[in-house]
């Protein structure tokens, strides 16, 4: 456990020693609030909730999370520092989890720093704060899903651009999995049973339920399961690189 935190701390030092953290936080906060006010009609709706704020998160994460995740491993392999890191007395698991938690923490910090909009909605009206807490957790969980996909993609290549494009594309497919855009072409080649399963894998459907405060077990299990699966892939991709 301590070793995981040692890795996390190193990543955080690097985030804040470079423009990565400030840039991520500023862009996330500006974008999420601007979209809530201008596209989401935060004021015009005259409803005291944060749905206009949360509804755009998937689209913001779609490119911001792969941007954070792409460097997790690619950069280590490109610069050669992976050789240093992986010959320290740390297990591959500790490093995989440490890195993941560091990036997840940064995303969490971004969400936490959006608290003024929460205060605003409480000043203007009387929202259901339980729903808002649930939506925050849902948003973080979905970002965690995007991040685990990006981390695994980053472990597969030493080219950050490739990692970014690959993870954005995979995240987009997951995001849209329940939509005709994805289901129609898949339905042409795969049997209905599999199409039904894929239609259940949609980030958007699971998230929109959570963003409305419906924290159901199925969605939680879905995201946690996906994150675990992707972290295992991440670990396996690191181990495969050592193998002949």
């Amino acid at each position: 456990m301590l070793n995981i935190l040692i890795v996390t701390r190193r990543e955080w030092l690097a985030y804040f020693h470079t423009p990565i953290a400030p840039l991520y936080l500023i862009i996330f906060l500006v974008l999420s609030s601007a979209l809530a006010f201008y596209l989401g009609g935060f004021y015009e709706r005259e409803i005291a909730d944060l749905e206009p704020f949360f509804q755009f998160h998937p689209w913001i994460y779609l490119f911001l999370v792969p941007a954070i995740g792409m460097r997790l491993w690619s950069e280590e392999y490109r610069s050669g520092s992976a050789e240093l890191l992986l010959t320290l007395p740390l297990s591959t698991w500790e490093v995989v989890l440490g890195k993941y938690l560091a990036a997840l923490g940064l995303i969490g910090l971004g969400l936490a720093l959006s608290f003024p909009i929460w205060i605003t909605v409480n000043v203007l009206g009387d929202p259901d704060n339980g729903v808002i807490v649930g939506a925050y957790l849902g948003s973080w969980l979905m970002a965690g899903g995007f991040l685990a996909i990006s981390a695994a993609a980053s472990a597969a290549t030493s080219n950050q651009v490739v990692a970014f494009i690959a993870s954005s594309s995979i995240c987009f497919v997951f995001l849209m999995a329940g939509m005709p855009l994805v289901l129609d072409p898949i339905g042409q080649v795969l049997p209905q049973g599999i199409v039904d399963v894929i239609s259940q894998a949609s980030f958007l459907i699971h998230y929109s339920a959570m963003a409305r405060g419906m924290l159901d077990l199925k969605s939680g299990v879905y995201f946690v399961g996906l994150i675990l699966l992707m972290l295992i892939s991440n670990w396996a991709l690191i181990e495969v690189r050592k193998a002949p």
Binding site: N3, I6, V7, R9, R10, L13, A14, H17, T18, S79, G80, S81, E83, L84, L86, T87, L88, P89, L90, S91, K242, A243, P244
Partner: protein
Amino acid sequence: MTSILAQSLTRCYGRMLAVDRVSFEVDGGTVLGFLGPNGAGKSTTMKMLTGYLHPTSGTALINGYDIRTHRRQAHQAMGYLPEGAPLYNDMRVKDFLRFVAAARGLSGTTAKTAIGSVAERLELEEVAEQSIGTLSKGFGRRVGIAQALLHDPPILILDEPTDGLDPIQKTQVRRLIQEMSDTKIVVISTHILEEVELLCDRVMIIAQGQLQLDGTPTEIRSRSRYAGALSLVVDQPQSVASKLSGLPSVSNVEYRAGKLTAFPSGDGDLAGAVQALIQSENWVVREFHLESGRLDDVFARIAGQSESHA
């Protein structure tokens, strides 16, 4: 007991055989030099010793710990400077050293003392607050060595530790390696022959992924065709050369870069015969030197052989 035991280390990259059944054993108090042309398999061997790459077959025991099955214990016993000294450019020197110390299980005052001591030995105090990415190559290399030394490991594996350094920095790093070599095992790889002569107690020449020669620098030098040869600098090399060739104890004479070298034929005492000839002919001799053999000659022959095979 400090030891490295390599057992038939073999590694393929796809279908290419990079390291082919390399076996050796080293004990504490040894500086071992891997010498070989680029692409010979030196780095791959080191990557296997440090557990960064799994061997295709064979294994290595680090202080008795199998690097494949007891990675953590093996890693704890060694410090490693990878080729090119990769570092985290997005960190400050002291933050980086703190990270390595923590990962090595050092904390609190132990970590502070360890960092202070390596920073002093490698003269890093002045750059402690700097970003690693802004350091010169020399400082970068020293930070790389500092992180390997941090926990005072019994085994150090340094891949080309002086590569890209200026002559003064090279001397500093070599002195450091010499200082540490009393009890530790220091494995270095290099393609600089003078470094081997200066530092190593034992040399392994690796070419084409195979261990070609293993011995002390003196032993390896004695395999050179120059071993036992006589070098002369004289005023009239042409006439001296022809007279020398006439001696029964001389097999042939070579003239290169102002220097005559007479190779022994094995028939009689070469040095005595040449000396007698010098006296009788009244030659002006500016230099007279009995060769113990040349490392570069052995190296060039082995590297050349492997190239012609490739």
